[in-house]
């Protein structure tokens, strides 16, 4: 299939990985892409490992299975590196993005010899500086757009502003913080 990007999200129930995957599908749709955003469902429990997926394509997507050989993997919680095989099937031309307060060098030994790109972001720091509360999915979204290049930064920020304006029509005060979080996250990817 032409121009297909497949992304797998690993998070814990309640951290918003599913929401982030759906937001990414949303923003890709808004620039004219074909998209799929879907979580892998199990019993819903706060803190349990969850997986969500995105397909972003220039042509209609017909396949309806999970993603086994993703181009990119996003890990919303670095404690998952100990219990989940997050790099399983990850293409070596691709990359993994991990939300962590640790140094990248500390995490690399946990990635089972993954040869592709390894990126980290301290989403907590980004959130505390811009939103004053910890909502990791906003910075993670910007960071994966930066790494995957599924769209240009300016296009992404413009579309997100439109979408957040709509979403928070009754709470315009949160718009600025979210936009700052997205901006800062773009710069804070290591």
């Amino acid at each position: 299939m032409n121009g297909l990007t497949e992304i797998r999200w690993h998070g814990r129930g309640g951290q918003g990985a599913k929401t982030a995957a759906l937001l990414l599908a949303d923003v890709a749709f808004s620039i004219g892409k074909y998209v799929q955003g879907f979580p892998e469902y199990g019993p819903e429990r706060m803190g349990a490992p969850i997986t969500a997926y995105d397909r972003i394509s220039d042509t209609k997507i017909r396949v309806h299975s999970n993603i086994y050989e993703p181009d990119f993997v996003v890990v919303v919680d670095d404690t998952l590196l100990h219990s989940v095989d997050v790099t399983k099937g990850l293409k070596k031309e691709g990359a993994i993005l991990i939300n962590t307060e640790k140094d990248k060098e500390e995490l690399i030994p946990l990635l089972k010899g993954y040869e592709g790109g390894v990126y980290t972001i301290n989403a907590r720091e980004v959130c505390m500086k811009t939103l004053g509360k910890y909502f990791p999915n906003t910075p993670m979204l910007a960071a994966i757009v930066n790494i995957s290049k599924v769209m240009e930064k300016e296009v992404f920020l413009k579309e997100m502003e439109e979408s957040l304006k709509h979403k928070f029509a009754k709470k315009p005060e949160v718009l600025e913080g979210n936009m700052k979080a997205l901006q800062l996250a773009f710069e804070e990817v290591r």
Partner: protein
């Protein structure tokens, strides 16, 4: 101009419900149902629909209330899934035998046990003998399109049967994908007003609904019901042809994908068909003549038509996303095998059970299946495994 959107299957069918704006919707509002009744309730609360929503205490009551409303003369719909459908069981038969054209949006999920919430067709397939029309979708677009067509089929004077519009649980119901919606006016004009010929609240014609049938009449009632199901075949095709004019999307009893010259075919229902199409394109590029028959209409069962479409195939895999415990494959395999027998098909047939409890069906699974079909056709070596599982852990 069509409206380009992205939606989950649940949102897509709820949107069709909003556009149709039926009179009454009794529904159990929480699990085991999906978010679908919640979306409709939001539309009503926001003043975008004026359907009477009845949040009932069980699915048995949901179907009972739907029967009451529809018999009274109101266009009625409900929604459920999995165990919710199981609890409707008794009333499904009552709705159908009283010839009440209720539309039911069903999200196909497993029945217990083991306790599981994921995709399976066991809920609706278990109800295949209840006398309802059953239409299935590959994706959110088809779920939407099928629901817009539902009342035109169900309420047709030659049919007058309830209709189940099915979509794959989670894979479609909770997955967000692109979709093209029709404008409200187009949907409203297509569906039209409901003017039942006979209804309980008609003061000029007193009638009884659901009375006791003595032995000397009951069988005639069932034969008339069976006739209505036969009549539904032509109506389904006519409504689809009319729908194509407003949507540009073509529907029939089934979709044939690369089937015309196919030597090896998969027959399946639902979201697995899109996955099979990707496998087909890759295998066709290597010169392998493979194809797909995607079943859209399961009740009425278009057996002769399917057998005709498959007549040039050397080997056919018939896939069921549910188990019949017949020791002989699932319901689609059993019914289509009978139709192939009647058509004097010489094709090798594999009866496949797959995807139970949400087990994933992948492009690799479909590819392997086509390779197995080619092997069986060439060597005839399927022996004891005519009925088999795929995707099972070793």
């Amino acid at each position: 101009m069509a409206i380009k959107e992205r939606m989950s299957g649940n949102e897509a069918v709820a949107y069709a419900m909003k556009q149709i704006n039926p009179d009454v919707m009794p529904a159990f509002p929480i699990t085991p149902s999906t978010e679908l009744p919640q979306f409709v309730a939001s539309y009503i609360a926001n003043g975008e629909m004026d359907t009477e929503f009845i949040p009932v205490e069980s699915e048995h009551s949901a179907m009972s209330a739907a029967i009451g409303a529809e018999a009274a003369g109101a266009r009625t719909m409900t929604a459920t899934s999995s165990a919710g459908m199981a609890l409707m069981w008794e009333m499904l038969y009552v709705a159908a035998s009283n010839r009440l054209p209720i539309a039911l949006a069903l999200v196909n999920r497993a029945l217990s046990g083991p306790l599981n919430i994921n995709c399976e067709h066991s809920d609706s397939m278990g109800a295949r003998d209840a006398g309802w029309i059953q239409i299935y979708a590959e994706d959110n677009q088809e779920a939407y399109d099928n629901f817009v067509q539902a009342y035109r089929i169900a309420e047709h004077k030659d049919v007058m049967l309830p209709i189940m519009i099915c979509q794959d649980g989670f894979i479609i119901s909770h997955g967000v994908e692109n979709i093209e919606l029709l404008e409200d006016e187009k949907v409203k004009a297509f569906v039209g007003e409901y003017n039942p010929a006979h209804f309980l609240l008609n003061e000029k014609e007193t009638m009884a609904v659901g009375p006791y049938a003595v032995t000397s009449y009951g069988m005639e009632s069932k034969r008339a019901h069976a006739q209505a199901m036969m009549n539904a075949k032509q109506v389904i095709l006519d409504v689809a042809a009319e729908y194509e004019k407003i949507s540009g999307r073509k529907y029939g009893f089934f979709e044939e994908y690369c089937l015309e010259d196919a030597e090896y075919a998969i027959v399946a229902i639902g979201s697995a068909c899109g996955t099979a199409k990707d496998a087909i394109d890759a295998l066709r590029a290597k010169g392998m003549k493979v194809g797909l028959l995607k079943v859209r209409v399961f009740r009425p069962f278009p057996g002769a038509e399917m057998a005709e479409a498959l007549k040039n195939c050397k080997a056919i895999a018939i896939m069921d996303r549910c188990e019949s415990y017949s020791a002989n494959g699932g319901p689609l395999a059993a019914e289509l095998s009978a139709a192939l027998f009647k058509a004097k098909s010489q094709a090798e047939v594999l009866k496949i059970v797959y995807g139970l409890n949400g087990r994933d069906f992948t492009v690799a699974d479909a590819t392997k299946l086509y390779e197995d079909l080619a092997d069986i056709a060439a060597n005839g070596n399927h022996e004891t495994e005519e009925y088999r599982y795929i995707g099972l852990r070793e």
